[in-house]
Amino acid sequence: MKIIVCIKQVPNTTDVQIDANTGRLKREGVESIINPYDEYAIEEGVRLKEKFGGKVTVITMGPQQAESSLREAIARGADEAVLVSDKAFGGSDTLATSYTLSSAIKTIGEYDIIICGKQASDGDTAQVGPAIAEMLNIPHVSCVKKIEVVDDNSIKVERMMEDGYDLIESSFPVLFTVVKEINNPRVPSLKGKMAAKKAIIKTFNVDSIGADTKRIGLSGSPTQVVKIFSPPQRTGGEKFVGQAKDVAANLVKRLLDLGII
């Protein structure tokens, strides 16, 4: 089974602080990590490989420094890694990113399953996975919480929905975006870390993926950011202290006054 996992390197928001003056994130010294949802995508790819044989190729689009996330993916069990990097990709929106990644996937060659995290923690759009599927002309299922391979020709999954989950069957090749519930990612093994160190990361640029330059970077991005501003930050309100009974009574009275309950 040939598996491709798409990942993104994002700033680690765990230790991000907000600048009190500007209300913006302080990005200095913030480490880069694999997007949290993508860890589940990598793990699921590796589990499928362990069960059914084959190979996991992990791919990312980003600056040269994103290579460290690819190496981490190898430490977590992926076999090969591809960095799609070129100055010409700068400023890509989700459509241009999907086009670039789908062109890179075509360059990699054959595949049975593509797995993406549901969304990236910096953009939160959840758009790139489904759009890649469209551009590759393959089916996709979003928010997958369980993958079960049935036979050589079809695969069954559970798709998380607001009111429960749907059971969906698909033919191959197919793309899934996965949610946290799907697995518990392993920590990198010593052997994995060794492999990651030695791994040769392939790098693709505009020419090697044969991309149409009108469809990449800012030229290929229909959406444009025209303004960025800080929303009013929440500031603290009223404190209720004292005996639990009084605190509770005061709160309920307040909620009644406001007509909330």
């Binding site: 994130l25 070129d86 910096d122 959840a126 758009q127 979003s142």
Partner: protein, 408 residues
């Protein structure tokens, strides 16, 4: 062609305005020992730069040189008219968010001097069309076919994009639900147009007819306004409960149009096998008015039973932080935050949740009540009402108080 951006060192005075304006932290200041006045020099890290151009607007010295690729299209924007709303239904029930979009869509259509249409996709759902007309739609397109009984990404996106290509609307609004977020990107990719996710504000630029779409970015700490200037339609997914629901009105009229599907063109390589309902909750947490959520400090499955009692009493949904979900006290479907769901209730009651950014990005509430022993934690700092104390003492008292009010 690629974008280029650089600082003209002769013009830069080291004022740091650009560095402060950059939302991506891509600009840093370098010391210039050789400079006669020792002025600092701005430097752009091209690995971080997204070419958004905000620094250029802030530089008063024209010290940033920027050449930008522009999207090349041959779209005739004047061919595209009308505002569309995706009328989401699941298992025959129309999602409330569709009516919220209808209300906003009506305002946008009025400003643009154009019509408002709703798009219904499903099987045997024509009966739902009148409800949209009674709430203000001028037209409802109905795509009715047994093939479309259950939502599937491929079939729904094929039908929707065919309809867009045929009718050419200028704006398409889709709810940011599990369904909307799953198939809208596929539609936009088919049509090759822009899609902005999770919008919280929509406004018209009257000179250009562009839709100014504002959404949270970087974990909600900044808001970004995004336009799709050269492509049509302009597509947005819209968050729950940002706009008020369109109400039923007497005497409204409109047209119901059957969209004749060419079944042969509906590709569908997935098959719907069944649906398993989540029995643990009857209220969709993303759409709930009131959410009662628990964190690490809840400590046990029993603790969540207590919170569930409060949630049920208030007619609210039960939520949790990642820590509580990872501890196995409550299923993942209740998780709120970065790797969980986004909620937009009127009232959010955070019980023993410290309020890390990963959690609070998912909380978009009018009123937050925090109950925590630690008054210094982030959730207590941002709460509208911060109750200091043990949830096991305070929550039972709240339940008792509410019950006594309801009885009296």
């Amino acid at each position: 062609m690629a974008n280029t951006i650089k600082i003209i060192s002769e013009k830069c005075v080291g004022c740091q305005m650009c560095a402060k304006a950059c939302p991506f932290g891509a600009i840093s200041m370098l010391q210039r020992a050789e400079h006669p006045k020792k002025l600092a020099l701005a430097s752009i890290d091209l690995n971080k730069c997204t070419y958004c151009g905000l620094c250029i607007q802030t530089c008063k010295f024209n010290a940033i040189e920027f050449t930008k690729d522009v999207p090349v299209t041959n779209v005739d924007k004047n061919l595209y008219r009308g505002v569309w709303v995706y009328a989401e239904q699941r298992h025959g029930v129309v999602h409330r968010l569709s009516y919220e979009l209808l209300n906003k869509g009506k305002h946008l259509a009025k400003e643009l001097g154009t019509t408002l249409s709703a798009i219904l996709i499903g099987d045997n759902i024509k009966a739902k069309a009148q409800g949209f007309i009674n709430r203000g739609a001028d037209k409802v397109y109905v795509c009715d076919d047994p093939l479309l009984l259950e939502f599937q990404e491929e079939s729904y996106s094929t039908v929707f994009s065919q309809l867009i290509e045929q009718e050419k609307p200028e704006i398409v609004l889709i709810g940011a639900t599990d369904i909307g977020r799953s198939f809208a990107p596929r539609v936009a990719a088919k049509i090759k147009t822009g899609l902005t996710a999770d919008c919280m504000s929509l406004e018209i630029d009257h000179d250009t007819r562009n839709l100014k779409q504002t959404r949270p970015a970087f974990g909600g700490n900044v808001m970004a306004t995004i336009v799709t200037p050269e492509h049509r339609p302009q597509m947005s997914t819209v968050r729950h409960r940002v706009f008020k629901e369109a109400q039923l009105q007497e005497g409204l009229t409109g047209e119901i149009v059957d969209f004749k599907l060419d079944i042969k063109t509906i590709v569908n390589r997935t098959k719907f096998l069944g649906f398993v309902k989540d029995e643990s909750s009857s209220i969709d947490i993303s759409d709930a008015d009131i959410v009662v959520a628990g964190g690490r400090g809840v400590g046990s499955v029993e603790g969540f039973k207590l919170l569930k009692e409060l949630a049920d009493l208030l007619g609210g949904a039960l939520g949790a932080s990642r820590a509580a979900v990872d501890s196995g006290w409550i299923p993942y479907s209740h998780q709120i935050g970065q790797t969980g769901k986004t909620v937009s209730p009127k009232l959010y009651i955070a019980c023993a949740i410290s309020g890390h950014m990963q959690h609070t990005v998912g909380v978009n509430a009018d009123i937050i009540i925090a109950i925590n022993k630690d008054s210094s934690c982030h959730m207590m700092q941002i709460a509208t009402y911060a109750l200091e104390g043990d949830i096991y003492e305070i929550v039972p008292n709240i339940i008792k108080e509410i019950k006594s009010c309801k009885c009296s």
